[in-house]
Symmetry: C2
């Protein structure tokens, strides 16, 4: 958890003014835009990709001698925000994109077509001075159930390109919309924080309408008239959640301005061990984790914590991220522990599921183990120095 809170602090300290978010949460949302008139498909300058792919990850395009970051990449910068939302919003959109744009064929580029000023105006409330705002007009109510909440918290564009002659040409795009399940607001500036809870049904209704509007706007750009555009609707986890949110709907537009055929996605994130008599998403997986946990704690008493994030799709476990916090200092103690964790993980944790295990002390990461999808054994590495 330390990792997260520090990352949060960093975002607060360093990034205000760089990233975009709904204006309900960002005081100074009117950032000067660099209008990023993209030319990826019109230049024949030196293109390069970051490396070859085995088909499971994208290669990224390096153009004009640089890796281009997205001008519209949206992060939540308010103090209470949940950084897990930031990571899983982006990772999840990439995962959705892989179904449509195979990494074997497509190279990745961060979104270059929605300019920063544009995304910013979309994220703000609709008003007389901001006709393009996707969030509803302020109805001047402050009561939790009467006010018009900020539905859309963040927006993300990803570009997918195909090799064409000596250059790369835009052929696909993915747009993620981060929908608030809880909208945090103040009644007076610097005042107490209140919440408006937004139902899944409302998130879905609002998200689909917004996606429809965005599609129509994007199709007006000549370069985007005929590219395949994938939309994903993401439910933001609450600020106090120990996992990020999940995608709950997706739709594909091959051409035209009508977005129909939405597909529901059944994804769930959870934390193990469960506490306060809560129920695990899957009791068997929870038992497996508890066996693993008690086994390693019985032999190595100097452990401060063993927790896991679990991710489910259509009720099956799709991955575990386990964090082990230690009070170890000796190199051989870490090596021995890492070896033992590998043995215990193979024996007790669910098979055929990707599992990442990090072993950290307060000084940083000491070791890690990983088993990718389809692999039988854990790869392990202990960090060391000369």
């Amino acid at each position: 958890m330390r990792f997260t809170s520090k990352k949060g602090l960093l975002l607060l300290m360093g990034l205000i003014g760089i990233f975009l978010t709904a204006c309900g949460n960002l005081q100074n949302a009117d950032l000067s835009g660099n209008t990023s008139s993209n030319t990826a498909s019109s230049k024949s300058a030196a293109y390069q990709i970051t490396g070859t792919t085995d088909g499971s990850q994208y290669s990224a395009l390096l153009s004009d001698g640089k890796y281009k970051v997205s001008s519209s990449r949206g992060l939540t910068v308010d103090q209470n925000s949940n950084n897990f939302n930031v990571a899983s919003f982006e990772d999840g959109l990439t995962t959705i994109s892989k179904q449509q744009f195979s990494p074997d064929k497509y190279a990745f580029q961060e979104g270059q077509y929605i300019a920063r000023t544009t995304a910013n105006s979309w994220l703000k409330r609709k008003s007389s001075s901001n006709a393009d705002g996707l969030n509803p007009e302020d109805n001047k109510q402050t009561d939790s159930n009467k006010r018009a909440p900020i539905y859309l918290q963040q927006i993300l564009e990803q570009d997918y390109l195909v090799h064409s002659g000596s250059t790369y040409k835009l052929d696909g795009m993915a747009i993620g919309l981060g929908m608030n399940s809880t909208d945090y607001y103040q009644k007076v500036q610097y005042g107490a924080t209140f919440k408006t809870t937004i139902s899944r049904a409302d998130q879905e209704k609002q998200g689909k309408e917004m996606a429809q509007k965005i599609l129509a706007r994007l199709r007006q750009k000549k370069e985007l008239a005929n590219v395949t555009i994938v939309f994903g609707l993401y439910e933001q986890a609450a600020n106090d959640s120990l996992v990020g949110g999940t995608y709950f709907a997706q739709a594909v537009s091959k051409s035209g301005t009508t977005l129909s055929d939405w597909t529901s996605l059944k994804q769930e994130n959870g934390v193990l061990p469960v506490v306060n008599n809560e129920k695990a998403i899957n009791g068997g997986d929870s038992d497996s984790f508890n066996n693993f946990k008690s086994k390693i704690q019985s032999f190595f008493p100097n452990l401060s914590g063993v927790t896991a994030q679990v991710h489910y799709e259509n009720d099956s476990l799709k991955g575990m991220k386990i964090k082990i916090t230690t009070q170890f200092f000796g190199e051989n103690e870490i090596r021995s522990f890492t070896q033992y964790v590998g043995t215990a993980a193979s024996r007790y944790l669910p098979a055929n599921v990707p599992i990442e295990i990090t072993i950290s002390s307060v000084g940083g990461m000491q070791a890690f183990l990983n088993r990718d999808s389809g692999e039988k054994d854990f790869y392990s590495h202990v960090f060391s120095s000369y």
Copy 2:
């Protein structure tokens, strides 16, 4: 470097009172000992090892239901100490041990035969109240060249066991002696710090005499009368060094109390890029690193630092640990960068050498790449969350 300084802080805060060191540097060195009368070879209780080995790493013995930490593990706890010394002192002794005690045959256990009180009295100066002190008597001089310095800074025992029937039996031991190249001292309590420089010749002379004394003391114990004991002499790096020290001599005693046949070890550690017109240990390796560095910096401008620790034995490069510090935040930016680093590392960095590359932001480690000895491709992993 952050990692290190925080680890240092931690050691200061949490560990004073646990570990042992020469009394010249530890104020409160008289720790109550747990006398650790070891019984690893006499009990038939449940033994278990931490996992199977591929022959490159030891399996560690778990006995009495626990991983046993060494009672005499020696760490330097004074404020200015160099934590790289702590890690490489321990790792280096394990490496020396592998030549004598093959990981295929031997299991590892942290030192259990030199009790904490014993090691502590050995590390202190010889005096009327401490006849066993290995460091010289205080000659009451405070002048840098006239005083008797603390030669021995830390001591480490490692045990190596063979499977015997239903149990494990001690069959080998390794003893590391950490010899100061610079002894830091105060003329008055809480006063300014002064230094006495100790030549390699003096370190070697003193270290060999101390090893001889230790051998004679160990052979008096019945359980140690006939085990093979390996000694390693380690030169501590200065407190301001960005790498740890190296082992410079080793000797093996199969039996008896005479230690002869010392073998010199030619090891060197360095840092890249070299600064202040210093000369790299090997110009070609330095050029390779600089090519790699400038290549990744040209495509990814948001890098704060790219540095490497290099380790040489008999003038050949034996390994590189590269630390890259970034200002990245997006998941895909990290993934793309990691892929590109793998491409550039394969192309520009020296072949056939183990290389570890960590990619960190101030929030912690974001990704890492590793190529072990004999491998062609880099393994890479990007840390993520749900």
